[in-house]
């Protein structure tokens, strides 16, 4: 109770990162370039200091990531001397997979879920860290910190293990794997506060700036090429969460500093994934993706 809540969350996350590094053969950290990944990366630096992070980073690149994200990724990993693996589902990308052609579900399935499962299998990874938080979405509220996947990388809600105290059960059979969520107990606000107090670098797209954008049919704005009938505008805006350019909207905002972002967040009335097209397809759609192996 005496330590401030961010330090308690930090201590808990570091404990989790170390447990996995100690008990698994081949861990890997899913690095999505977003704010949660940035926090997770900093926590990993802390966990193994003064040693190096003892596992590689894996970025599943759909080919639709904003160029600011890729530039940020390459600069940061070079500066920190990190071992980065980039994985793309090249056959699907070559065939022109796009949400407007395949629909968002199928597109995500190919470029994200399939690509991720392939990368994990090719790397022989038995544990993969992800930056998901339980407060992100209702179906995540019951997600464990160690989330078990069968030999096909799939998630079965009823096969999940109870987690007591900080005693994680890391025993798996050959071919099985786990996803680990060290940020489970963090909220979006905690993430931003931590980025602020720790001065963690983040992709510039999170800061409001005058940008060229298009207004889509639902009235939202996107930083992408205009589809027929979508007017181009120049508007001060920023991204609240980073995804693929066709499916992630920007928000009109004046928040060009971290304190302003936090202030804006505290007055926000809409959840952060609301600007993602994928979660709205059907009620509970996130859970269907999880069963298939999506993060």
């Amino acid at each position: 109770m005496n330590l401030p809540h961010l330090r308690l969350l930090e201590a808990e996350s570091i404990h989790i990162l170390r447990e996995v590094a100690a008990e698994f053969q081949r861990p890997v950290m899913l690095y999505s370039i977003g704010k949660d990944s940035s926090v997770m990366l900093r926590l990993a630096q802390k966990a193994f200091f003064p040693g190096r992070i003892p596992f590689p980073l894996l970025h599943v690149d759909t080919g639709y990531k904003f160029h600011e994200m890729i530039e940020f990724r390459d600069k940061l990993t070079a500066e920190l001397g990190l071992n980065l693996i980039v994985h793309r589902n090249e056959p699907a990308i070559a065939q022109g997979a796009h949400p407007s052609i395949l629909g968002t579900q199928r597109c995500c399935q190919l470029l994200k879920t399939q690509s991720l499962l392939d990368a994990l299998r090719e790397g022989g990874f038995d544990a993969a860290f992800g930056g998901a938080r339980r407060d992100e979405e209702k179906s995540r509220a019951k997600e464990r910190i160690y989330s078990f996947r069968d030999t096909h990388g799939q998630w079965e809600p009823r096969a999940q293990r109870p987690e007591l105290w900080n005693l994680y059960n890391s025993r798996i059979h050959p071919g099985e794997s786990i996803r680990v969520f060290p940020l489970s107990n963090w909220t979006e606000t905690d993430i931003w506060h931590y980025i602020h107090v720790e001065s963690i670098p983040i992709v510039p797209l999170y800061y409001a700036k005058e940008r060229d954008a298009v207004v889509d049919l639902r009235g939202g704005i996107r930083l992408a090429e205009a589809a027929p009938g979508e007017p181009a505008v120049r508007v001060k805006c920023r991204m609240r969460s980073l995804g693929c350019s066709p499916c992630t909207g920007a928000i009109r905002s004046e928040a060009d500093t971290l304190p302003k972002i936090i202030d804006e967040l505290l007055t926000f009335r809409r959840s952060e994934r609301e600007n993602r097209v994928i979660d709205h397809d059907t009620e509970g759609s996130m859970e269907i993706k999880k069963r298939e192996g999506y993060f």
């Binding site: 401030p4 809540h5 802390k46 966990a47 193994f48 407060d135 509220a141 109870p162 025993r171 798996i172």
Partner: protein
């Protein structure tokens, strides 16, 4: 309809919010007591839900709250399958915060599997909110909830007597339930339970006090939760080592999360197993060295001496050793179908160690229906059973009793065949493993001498003087004129000295004082003396 009740905007300036406290809680109630509604109300009224989430519950085809009312219970309804069945079946974690505190709330269902789920939620909670439906009063289930909270070491309990709107906001009804349940909680050792009457549906006494119950003068639930002091345990310093950090030849540190207590640079510590002594040379973190660190911080310790330290070692305050035992007793909550019995080995996770162990016996089983312990005939524990069990591990565990140190007394049992988390345990005490026969060396340790027979050639004055000197040095002798072989064997087995006055033996110095010294020197100094050998 979707307009969020606007509360005074919390003074959330970025710097200030980084200094919030954290309270981990658990809610328990029977099905339909209004748990989901209460949590929904806390989230909604503390502005921890977003407008689009509210819109989606407003659009939902399910609404059990009544026409024109938002069904806030839907805000916390989890997985799709459960939504369809209209039930919740697992532990879900909710987050909300105010200007003063961040709250992590474990939400557990109130029906079957409730023991397993409640134990899981309770393991990390500092405080439990127990819901009671004012119409039904104290149910057997309410007692069970309190019992499991007590077992899992939660010290702080808040009792929300809900649906007061359906009980006419009656003070006498509230008092009736309060006094009945207070007696039960008292029996379970809860110190200052906080009782309050609420209506989760209408919002009375949840976030704001409301006007319906002017007879109640305590703070509303949220205000109470924001200010309640949670006892922090004053346990000794302990840190189980997670991994050895060794980036180069010049640095060797031990990374771990402090399980209890505080450690300072320069502190004397011992490393278990073994108990080797050393001091803390540095407390290393990414943000710089610390002068001191306290539970539950994650740090890396550098020790003064090169010792054999690895994952699974325990660094503990010097002179404050944990209990070391292969055999121990623990309260067990069983969590899987395959029962706990003595037919095979289980894997125990304790701190950062994995140790194999076998069930030796079940001491008793808690009957969750009657809340009585008993049934000596019990030979196994099934899913959701609770019992007290004795285990024998293949190597000693270094623990503190759960009642004084939660992190050092907690264990998880793993089924080595399926790898499932099979049970949770709260260690009570060590059990003496076997009766070791008393050895001649132990007797010598106590008396300072071995068994011996001293023959004095008829010198009675020397005999009593000698007995006095032996006695004063902590030894035990008996003076006899002569003795049978049986008696001599018995006294020899007991490790005693027999002084035989009338029997012929070596010639001692003629002066009694000198003779005494001569004999004592033989008895107490010369350990080469074989037991029972005559002098």
């Amino acid at each position: 309809m979707t307009e969020i009740i606007t509360l005074a905007h919390p003074a959330n300036v970025p710097g200030a919010t980084a200094e919030k406290g954290l309270l981990r809680m658990l809610t328990c109630g029977s099905v339909d007591d209004g748990k989901s509604t209460l949590i929904g109300r806390l989230l909604y009224d503390s502005r921890s839900v977003y407008e689009d989430q509210v819109q989606s519950i407003a659009k939902s085809t399910v609404n059990r709250a009544g026409a024109g009312l938002l069904d806030l219970s839907l805000l916390t309804d989890g997985l799709r399958a459960e939504r369809e069945q209209g039930i919740t079946i697992d532990v879900a974690y909710r987050y909300f915060s105010t200007a003063k505190r961040k709250f992590i709330l474990a939400d557990t269902p109130g029906h079957e599997q409730f023991t397993r789920n409640m134990a899981t939620g309770a393991s990390t909670a500092d405080l439990a909110i127990i819901l009671i439906d004012a119409r039904h009063g104290v149910l057997p289930q309410s007692r069970r909830h309190a019992q499991i909270c007590a077992l899992l070491g939660i010290r702080q309990v808040t009792v929300a007597i809900n649906k007061m709107d359906l009980a006419g906001y009656s003070e006498s009804r509230y008092e009736e339930i309060r006094s009945e349940f207070a007696t039960i909680l008292d029996g379970l050792g809860f110190h200052n339970p906080y009782f309050l009457p609420v209506s989760a549906l209408a919002g009375d006494n949840v976030v704001t006090k409301g006007t319906k119950m002017p007879w109640f003068d305590g703070p509303a639930l949220l205000e109470y939760l924001e200010t309640v002091e949670v006892e922090s345990s004053a346990a000794e310093f302990r840190m189980p080592v997670q991994l050895v950090v060794r980036p180069d030849l010049h640095f060797r540190g031990y990374a771990g999360q402090i399980a209890s207590g505080t450690v300072r640079k320069g502190d004397a510590v011992e490393v278990w197993p073994g108990g080797k002594h050393t001091t803390i040379a540095r407390i290393v973190t990414y943000d710089g060295d610390l002068a001191e660190a306290t539970a539950p911080q994650s740090v890396t310790l550098v020790l003064e001496h090169e010792l054999d330290v690895a994952r699974g070692s325990l660094i503990a305050a010097a002179g404050r050793a944990p209990i070391a035992a292969r055999r121990f007793r623990a309260d067990i909550v069983w969590m899987q179908e395959r029962p706990l019995d003595g037919t095979h080995m289980w894997v125990i996770k304790h701190g950062t160690r994995l140790v194999r162990a076998r069930l030796i016996r079940l001491v008793d089983r808690l009957d969750i229906a009657t809340l009585t312990r008993g049934s000596a005939s019990a030979t196994n524990l099934g899913l959701n059973d609770i019992g007290l069990a004795e285990f024998e591990a293949v190597s000693p565990l270094h623990f503190d009793p759960y009642s004084t140190n939660r992190s050092m007394g907690a264990i998880v049992l793993i089924d080595p065949e399926t790898n499932a988390t099979a049970g949770a345990g709260m260690i009570r005490s060590a059990v003496e493993s076997t009766f070791r026969p008393v050895t001649a060396a132990e007797r010598e340790g106590r008396f300072g001498h071995n068994a011996a027979v001293v023959r004095l050639n008829g010198r009675h004055s020397l005999a009593s003087r000698l007995e006095r000197r032996i006695f004063d040095r902590g030894g035990v002798a008996t003076v006899r004129d002569h003795a049978s072989v049986d008696l001599l064997e018995a006294l020899d087995a007991a490790g005693l000295i027999v002084i035989l006055v009338e029997e012929a033996g070596p010639a001692w110095a003629s002066d009694d004082g000198t003779a005494c010294e001569q004999i004592l020197k033989e008895l107490f100094v010369d350990h080469g003396l074989e037991s029972g050998e005559a002098i």
